[in-house]
Amino acid sequence: MQAGHNRNLVAVSWGRVHIPDGFIDAPTSAAAGAVAVGGVAICLKKAADQLDEKRVALAGLTAAFIFAVQMLNFPVASGTSGHLLGGVLAAVLVGPYIGALCVTVVLSVQCLLFADGGLSALGLNVVNMALVTAFGGYVIFLLLRKLLPRTVGGVVASSGIASALGVVLASLVFTIEYAIGGTGGASIATVGGAMVGVHVLIGIGEGVITGLTVSAVLASRPDLVHGARDLYERAPGGSPALVGDAA
């Protein structure tokens, strides 16, 4: 490291993208931690019933892929970048429970190994980027699937749009957390407006990446896409055993 490297600027330097310690006060962070632990526990229980050998492998790949793509900050506006959150992508590929766990592993690795996202803020980051996107965004995905044609194109479009809206949803949840325990005295309305405004743009990037990825998996292994199981089941010779496999 060069002598000029200023460790006090870490929160806004290249590559640090998650909520650091300090933005949100300790009680609020702890409460989010409790919510995150509860959510992860439920996901683990559900995952235990859903995992087969194929899904274990696919979930590992999904998490590794999301880690890689989260490093690819793309420019969104003057002096601002955005990056994939990945919750909806994971939920569409492996289901919301396993998907939320995939993103949780990514966030934990980033926090513990790469010092990105504060230790005390890990719960906040898990709630916003693993739980809100994998569940909230996935509900939007399911609604869109009902509205759009029951085709590969419909699945891809639903994934893209839902993931974009999932990013905006996550930015709203951050605003709520800031309203409850934010430090630095910024007005809630200003923070909320700015967060939503910039995350609409980031959401477009999220939607494109998610749509492209889901489309690539559908083109090679459609049977592996959790969010497209109904298409697979209808195919001649498709396994009806998958029908009872709830989300």
Binding site: V12, L72, N73, G184, L201, R221
Partner: protein
């Protein structure tokens, strides 16, 4: 809606893509603050951020300590991250799956 490639090939291909993105493409990523940090700067609360508790670890900030080429350092951090994430997720889910099978009374030997 048929599988066009074998599972092994699909997984290997996917992993290669992830490694490529992390090693080759991540040094090209925008270094501008992301949405959250930009809002924090603009709205005046970025100063409340505290240095990370694990700031002195060898890969903090997606840089490998001791590798002085910034791009290589970030690329290597990406490779490490992808590998660790894959191993942790695979390990976690293998254990979770075994616990699920045990609860369901399936033979512990597995053998799918």
């Amino acid at each position: 809606m048929k599988a066009r490639v074998g599972l092994g090939l699909f997984l290997a291909g996917g992993l290669l893509v992830a490694l490529f993105l992390a090693f080759v493409l991540s040094p090209e990523a925008s270094s501008k603050p992301d949405g959250l940090n930009k809002v924090a700067i603009d709205k005046g609360f970025s100063g409340t951020a505290k240095a990370h508790t694990l700031e002195d670890t060898p890969t903090a900030g997606y840089e490998v300590r001791g590798v002085h080429d910034g791009r290589l350092s970030r690329g290597l951090a990406g490779l490490i991250g992808v590998t660790v994430t894959l191993a942790l997720t695979g390990g976690l889910f293998a254990v979770v799956r075994r616990s699920g099978r045990a609860r369901a009374g399936a033979p512990p030997s597995g053998g799918t």
